[in-house]
Amino acid sequence: MTCTQKPAAPTRRDILKSGAAMATLQLAPGVTLMAFGGSEAQAAADAGKRWGLLIDAGKCAEGCSACVTACADENGWKGKGDAERDAQWIRKVTLKNKATGRTSELPVMCQHCESPPCVDVCPTGASFKRKDGIVLVDKHICIGCRYCMMACPFKARSFVHEPVTNQKTHAPRGVGTVEGCTLCVHRIDAGRIPACVEACAATGNGAMVFGDLRDPESEISRRLAEYPSLTLRPDLDLNQGVRYAEI
């Protein structure tokens, strides 16, 4: 079975381009896609979808970091206790309204922009956006220049400062390269939801909704149509896939 899943470049890509993508996609495991670099990961994406997250800060419980822990477990980026250099694919940010003093909490990760500055500035094309809107780093051609970290308005990327061991096969990491939230692309390509969303739901808070922004019937689209939401740094007009409500 694994043999048939292995991508054999041109013919397979032609089939995908022809629109018969979905069935093939469900079969392709993230490990193969990611490890073989940008073109393979790109091939798994469905251009008809735009994956996104809606984060309801009103439901994000104070002190809860289930999403962060789940992401670290899923993708194997747990640090060594050096807060300044450890990777941080997702973090909890506490906000205090300067005018009213009201506080709230919310998770921040790669916002999967439609016009991602990290992709614009990457000299080699290692930072790339899939057709379904997921922004990734191709670890094979990242040269570790860190220009994407300079360019990202959301501090969403981390640089691997030390050699790493015990990596997850679906989330390869490498010293000297840059990484960030993949929206759990390996799960999405297998028809599952991101680990953070699953963990948030398991706590009962249900502050995170994952789905297809292009599908008007998806839960995320219905909720976005129902109540006000926003993107971070709307002045930059990046049209992120991650939206926030009730900040």
């Binding site: 050096d82 807060a83 300044e84 250099r85 450890d86 990777a87 941080q88 973090r91 909890k92 940010v93 506490t94 906000l95 205090k96 309204n97 300067k98 005018a99 921040v108 500055p117 992709v119 614009d120 500035v121 990457c122 000299p123 080699t124 094309g125 051609i141 990242c142 040269i143 570790g144 220049c145 860190r146 220009y147 970290m149 300079m150 360019a151 990202c152 308005p153 959301f154 501090k155 981390s158 640089f159 691997v160 400062h161 030390e162 050699p163 490498g174 010293v175 000297g176 390269t177 840059v178 971070l232 740094r233 930059l236 900040i247």
Partner: protein, 401 residues
């Protein structure tokens, strides 16, 4: 008195010249050792973090690359603008431009997370990235300036020198525009994202590059027992003061423009008033020591005529220039990005807080290694090529008529 023809000769072998070469070689080895150490352990052994991702090596690299463009001043003034007194120093100008660029690029490349993938950077281009354009601008600069040096040293009609020199002049403007735009085109950070970065960097290149040129010229002549006349120093010193003033002007416009916008009040308060080390570096070192002091040294009449003054002014401009690049590169990252206007943000990932950065010895070693590489390269070139005239005394330098 009849003027001697300008004779270009290789540097003679002298004791001091060897001593300088050994010293630079030691720094070069130190730089390589720093690189090997960092490459083995990862960037965890540097002062860099996930908040300040470009540190001291980038300060050195950018300083050297910006200076490379400015080192070409003397050659451009001679062959593009036709000022004869600069002709005898035009060859050195081209050699120094290439050497500084190579030194800067070496630091930049060796500080990559994956320097072993340099071939990737040379073969895959994302043309929406100014970084990718810079790879082409830098390598193209080396080629154009090498051609420029070649026509200067060949017996070709002078029209060729002017043509290739003009191409090199335009290329250097593009190169420094590209370097400034690395920051100018960063929309995310309040300290950057400004079109003035490109002309500011061009002014910086004129100033820093000339300062390095003056010091290298003086050092090579002294080490080889050759003489430079007072007029040459005066001419170069006067030019340096003008360029230093241009840097101050663009810096003033940069900050005044930002101060006018309420959204940039935070970063401006940080750099200009509350930023601690960055504020000190800005006012005391960049503006005071690197700007006002050299201008005063050159222009105030009670100083004035000594050859030592342009040399001291050059040292001050370089010190101020390094401070300026440090404030731009590190200061711009240390100040937190405003993800949530109107809110105080805090997180375990240092949202809303000024990031600390303490350069490590390895980063300093790598940066100084790049400087040593550039200086060693220019010394070797002057030793094996006829780039330096035997005599730059006033009577020997052609006039402007």
């Amino acid at each position: 008195m009849a003027m001697e023809k300008t004779l270009y000769r290789e540097l003679p072998t002298t004791g001091p010249l060897w001593a300088a070469a050994v010293l630079l070689g030691a720094f070069l080895l130190g730089g390589l050792a720093a690189f090997a150490y960092t490459h083995h352990h990862g960037h965890a052994v540097t002062g860099m973090t996930n908040q300040v991702v470009w540190g001291l090596p980038h300060v050195f690299a950018i300083f050297l690359i910006v200076s490379a463009s400015g080192a070409l001043n003397a050659a451009s003034i001679a062959s593009v603008f036709g000022h004869a007194p600069y002709k005898p120093i035009a060859r050195l100008s081209a050699v120094l431009a290439m050497s500084l660029l190579v030194g800067g690029l070496a630091v930049l490349v060796l500080d990559l997370g994956r320097p072993d993938r340099l071939i990737v950077a040379m073969t895959r281009y994302n043309f929406s990235s100014i970084f990718a354009w810079n790879v082409l601008l830098y390598t193209g600069f080396l080629a154009v300036v090498a051609a420029y040096l070649f026509v200067q040293m060949s017996r070709v009609p002078y029209g060729w020198v002017r043509t290739v020199g003009t191409a090199a002049f335009l290329w250097r403007l593009a190169l420094t525009t590209g370097t400034g735009s690395i920051f100018g085109w960063l929309v995310a950070r309040p300290g950057y994202d400004a079109a003035i970065m490109a002309p500011l960097f061009i002014a910086m290149s004129f100033s820093f590059g000339l300062a390095v040129f003056i010091l290298v010229l003086a050092a090579l002549f002294r080490l080889s027992g050759r003489k430079i006349g007072r007029m040459m120093y005066r001419r170069l010193g006067g030019l340096l003061a003008i360029f230093a003033a241009a840097v101050l002007y663009f810096t003033a416009v940069q900050h005044l423009t930002a101060l006018y916008a309420a959204e940039h009040a935070g970063i401006e308060r940080f750099i200009l008033r509350d930023g601690g080390i960055y504020t000190w570096l800005f006012w005391l070192v960049q503006v005071g020591i690197g700007g006002l002091a050299p201008i005063a040294l050159i222009y105030l009449p009670r100083f004035g005529n000594s050859a030592a003054e342009p040399i001291l002014a050059s040292v001050l401009v370089i010190v101020g220039g390094l401070a300026q690049v440090y404030v731009i590169v590190v200061g711009g990252q240390a100040y937190p990005m405003e993800l949530f206007p109107g809110y105080e943000a805090s997180s375990p990932f240092f949202d809303g807080t000024v990031s600390a950065y303490a350069p490590s010895l390895t980063e300093l070693g790598l940066g100084l290694g790049g400087v040593a590489l550039a200086l060693l390269a220019v010394g070797v070139a002057a030793k094996v090529l006829r780039v330096l005239p035997t005599n730059l005394m006033d009577a020997n330098v052609p006039g402007n008529d």
